[in-house]
Symmetry: C2
Subunit: 215 residues, 2 copies
Amino acid sequence: MPAIIDHDARRVELAAIAAELIAERGVEAATVRAIAEAAGASTKVVSHYLADKRALMLATYRSAAESSAAMAGAAANSADVAAHLASLLPVGPQMVRNWRVWLAFWAFAISDAVFAAEQGGQVTRARRTIETVMMRDPRFAGLAEGMRETAARELITLVIGIAVQAAFDPAEWPLEAQLGPIAERLAALDLAARTGDKAGAGSTLQGQPTESRRE
Amino acid sequence: MPAIIDHDARRVELAAIAAELIAERGVEAATVRAIAEAAGASTKVVSHYLADKRALMLATYRSAAESSAAMAGAAANSADVAAHLASLLPVGPQMVRNWRVWLAFWAFAISDAVFAAEQGGQVTRARRTIETVMMRDPRFAGLAEGMRETAARELITLVIGIAVQAAFDPAEWPLEAQLGPIAERLAALDLAARTGDKAGAGSTLQGQPTESRRE
């Protein structure tokens, strides 16, 4: 009688092992043989689940996204934007690993429309989650919808920009350095929410602060 | 009598061709054979200059960095921060190509200390150039040094965050969308420079705008 195998669980397990290999030793190191060894499985089994480099990259990308969603889970369900954004940054081994996997994936996404759409979709989802948490956070609940959208876009842009730099220059980007620009932006938005500054935190939309300040 | 060959020029030429292949069709497509074909050279010549994948990635990365420096040259020597930052964004075929090459390089840099240092160094240089242009730009010459440093760090962070998103979702990130967050940030800094707001554009450094506003 054949063993009952949970195929989805197996796929998830192999993808996590492959993600670990990519983050630790790079894409080239995540060979079928290396994954099989690390998983204690046969190369035949690994090849079944991760048929080629493309399937491998997509599976590890999603593995990192699921890991990140799980990490952010509590923060995303809370009403604390700062805590939620902190959970997205490459702080701690799990999120450092996830960002490395995404950076590896991007190399393939530059010339693969399906991968690019996967990445675009993930950023859009992340942005919408930020908006949702903003609506729940008493500090930002007062922001106008358009401003909340703009703010979420800017915040996810900061997260990506910080994460990319931190990935390659961790000494320059300890926790406080990563959180700093985000805390500053949130403080400005907080101020805007309380003063009803529709243009957002003392800034303007068109770069002409005195002449065309919006009301 | 052997032909006189300018080895540096040859290396630069082959790296540019390889960068083109990577940006168009991905890292896997930039084989010695494909580069040789595109260059009208023998595979032996290509192998001489680009001995392995590592040499190839480093050469194409530097090729993109030089291309970008050349593109930014005029803007970097000017006194216009906005124009300089615009020249760094993936707008136009040449800068879209350069960003794709960098994204490809990052996949190798996650597990290669030399590559990571190369990337870190490039970001540091870009940040310092922004600071230099800020000092020349009449709009920002009045900013305190510490604030200029912080601003340059935030601006390069925005550039990276925008470029990564634009690379995979160009429809969402036309020119105006890429320039928008940067123009807003510059307008806030402009205001801060003129009003002498040391904390920077209505924001604070610690996320507590009312209690601990810096003077």
